[in-house]
């Protein structure tokens, strides 16, 4: 189960080896190994409850794995606390968006840059986020909790970008959005990637995700059952049946 190994010459920007993560006694991840290379979009597919979000929570330190190792840019980050992870260069738009509901859009974006030392450049980055999402600019003084789902999603992605991450983790950015928003979000994901940010994209919308991604992994109940290039996954019979809704 391997392909897409063209880039293995360089060390991957992110590497998970044999990750086991638990919720209390629930064994949610049963040995996940995956890689993201510099400049890639990698997608993580799988049904509800497969362990996609838990994989991201293992990476960002919110749910520390009991076993296995996570390396980012060659350094072990397995037991680095959550609030240090973003300083290393990993930002996330989490499942359910998790904006600060009683802060304005601008304040939410500022929170994204909370740990940055280069205060002077933050304003410019915010302008760039507003260029990417003109709708957010219109809503900039509105409380985040009062916006529509699509607007909140944009804000969550924008907030993650404000950290100037080298790796962006996106958890179901298209969930609950109108089709027109979904297309926009995926366009923007590709645009962000072209500007040099590697992306690990969790999606249930497999079709759109495989269109955008270079490579993909398929998760089932805490295990990786398929790993391949996005092209091959798109034509894989099992994927077509289970995730692309073909019979």
């Amino acid at each position: 189960m391997s392909n897409g190994n063209a880039a293995t010459a360089a060390t991957p920007i992110l590497q998970l080896s044999d990750i086991h993560t638990y919720y209390g006694s629930i064994h949610a991840l049963k040995g996940i190994s995956l890689e993201v290379h510099d400049g890639e979009i990698v997608t993580l597919l799988g049904a509800n409850g497969a362990g996609k979000s838990t994989t991201l929570r293992s990476i960002n330190g919110l749910n520390r794995p009991r076993q296995g190792h996570i390396r980012f840019q060659g350094r072990d980050i397995t037991s680095v606390p959550a609030h240090e992870i973003v300083k290393r260069g990993i930002a996330q738009s989490p499942e359910g968006r998790r904006l600060f509901p009683r802060m304005t859009v601008i304040e939410n974006l500022e929170m994204g840059a909370f740990q940055r030392k280069d205060r002077s450049e933050i304003k410019g980055d915010m302008d760039r986020v507003f260029e990417l999402f003109p709708r957010l600019h219109e809503r900039r003084t509105q409380k985040a909790g009062t916006m529509s789902g699509g607007e909140q999603q944009m804000c969550a992605i924008g907030r993650a970008l404000m950290a100037r991450p080298k790796l962006l983790l996106l958890d179901e950015p298209s969930l609950g959005l109108a089709p027109i928003f979904v297309e926009r979000i995926f366009d923007i994901i590709k645009q962000i990637n072209e500007q040099g940010t590697s992306i690990l994209l969790v999606e249930q919308n497999a079709l759109m995700a495989l269109e955008a991604a270079h490579r993909g992994y398929v998760l089932e109940t805490g295990r990786i059952v398929l790993a391949d290039s996005a092209e091959s996954l798109k034509t894989n019979e099992q994927v077509r049946k289970t995730y692309l809704g073909e019979t």
Binding site: P81, A82, H83, P94, R102, F114, Q115, Q142, M147
Partner: protein, 350 residues
């Protein structure tokens, strides 16, 4: 979505012709009429009592803010908070008299002593409050909400016992150093320096707190942590340190209140924090728990209601009824307007 929805809800609230609303209005109107009558019977007395009420309200505000800060960040009612305030009074007496030799008749020499005592009391109570969080609440962070609540009541008893062991069962007296000479007169009523000093200590502390929460990096971390701890963590905020800091601030406000109270009232007893704490908690709920300006507003209102009730001459229930009135307000607010006067009605209840 919620913005559109909240407009009609707000309108509904005022349009709703309910028996309860009408009764509520009747109670408020009745109280207003009683106050107006008292004002006409004796304007000078009314004015005097009102000034005392504002002073009391200031002390309540400092304590109420501690409840509201901690509730805002952990959704925990820190029942031990009133007792930390009591310790603040004890620290004030110990530091000022035993360390700095404060006694009455020192003139302006009291100023540096009071300032130094204020700083030390605030520091002591801040550290104690942060330690309480670390020892008693942090291990229960993921437990059901009832667990830390019961623990808080336990901590309250422990602190009272510490106060009892430290200072004994009787009232401890502080030297009466704030001058009672008048600052100004109005309708034959004197406003004493002792009251002004309490207000003069409270207001800068309140402004400092507002600045801290609204303008500083630490304040932003506090607000973010209060709204979503996981999201705050992935922004790079050290959530545990932010919670410790919040307890530190809440405790130091209680320390400042302890100083004001002990030097203004001049007596402190080991069990006083519990009752004053409940009054201050009521003030925080009245203003909207979790809401800082709300806590101040609620505290001033409760301070006024209490002193009006106890001090006005014409047909007021009197001090025997103060607690009943205060806790009736608490019950009414919890039943009919749980979000308080300034709180917002939010889905997550914060």
């Amino acid at each position: 979505m919620a913005a559109d929805a909240s407009v009609p809800t707000l309108a509904n609230r005022f349009q709703r012709p309910s028996v309860v609303g009408a009764l509520g209005m009747l109670v408020v109107l009745g109280a207003a009429a009683l106050l107006l009558k008292n004002l006409t019977v004796s304007p000078s007395r009314f004015f005097e009592v009102t000034l005392i009420g504002l002073t009391t309200g200031c002390v309540y505000a400092l304590v109420a803010l501690g409840y509201t800060l901690v509730y805002g960040i952990l959704e925990l009612i820190n029942f031990a908070h009133g007792d930390v305030f009591m310790l603040g009074g004890m620290f004030t007496i110990t530091y000022s008299t035993h360390f700095f030799g404060l006694h009455s008749g020192q003139g302006f020499a009291i100023v540096p002593i009071v300032v130094a005592t204020l700083i030390l009391s605030m520091l002591s109570c801040g550290l104690i409050n942060a330690a309480i969080e670390f020892v008693a609440y942090r291990p229960l962070r993921k437990a059901p909400r009832l667990a830390p609540l019961i623990t808080a009541i336990g901590v309250s008893f422990i602190i009272q016992d510490v106060g009892l062991a430290w200072k004994g069962p009787n009232y401890v007296t502080a030297p009466d150093v704030f001058p009672h000479t008048k600052v100004f007169s109005f309708h034959g009523v004197d406003y004493g320096w002792n009251k002004l000093i309490v207000v003069a200590i409270t207001i800068p502390v309140l402004l400092g707190l507002l600045y801290l929460v609204q303008q500083t990096r630490q304040g932003k971390a506090m607000r973010a942590t209060a709204q979503d701890k996981d999201a705050a963590a992935i922004m790079g905020i050290n959530v545990n340190r932010t919670i410790s800091f919040t307890f530190m601030i809440a405790g130091s406000l209680a320390g400042a209140a302890g100083l004001c109270y002990s030097l203004y009232v001049t007596t402190v007893r080991y069990d006083q924090g519990f009752q004053l704490g409940l009054i201050a908690f009521t003030a925080a709920v009245l203003g909207g728990i979790g809401n800082l300006p709300g806590a101040v507003l609620g505290a001033v209102l409760i301070g006024l209601i209490q002193t009006w009730n106890e001090g006005l001459p014409w047909h007021m229930p009197g001090s025997d009824w103060t607690q009943s009135i205060v806790f009736s307000i608490l019950i009414l607010i919890l039943v009919f307007r749980p979000e308080g006067l300034l709180g917002e009605r939010t889905p997550e209840g914060g």
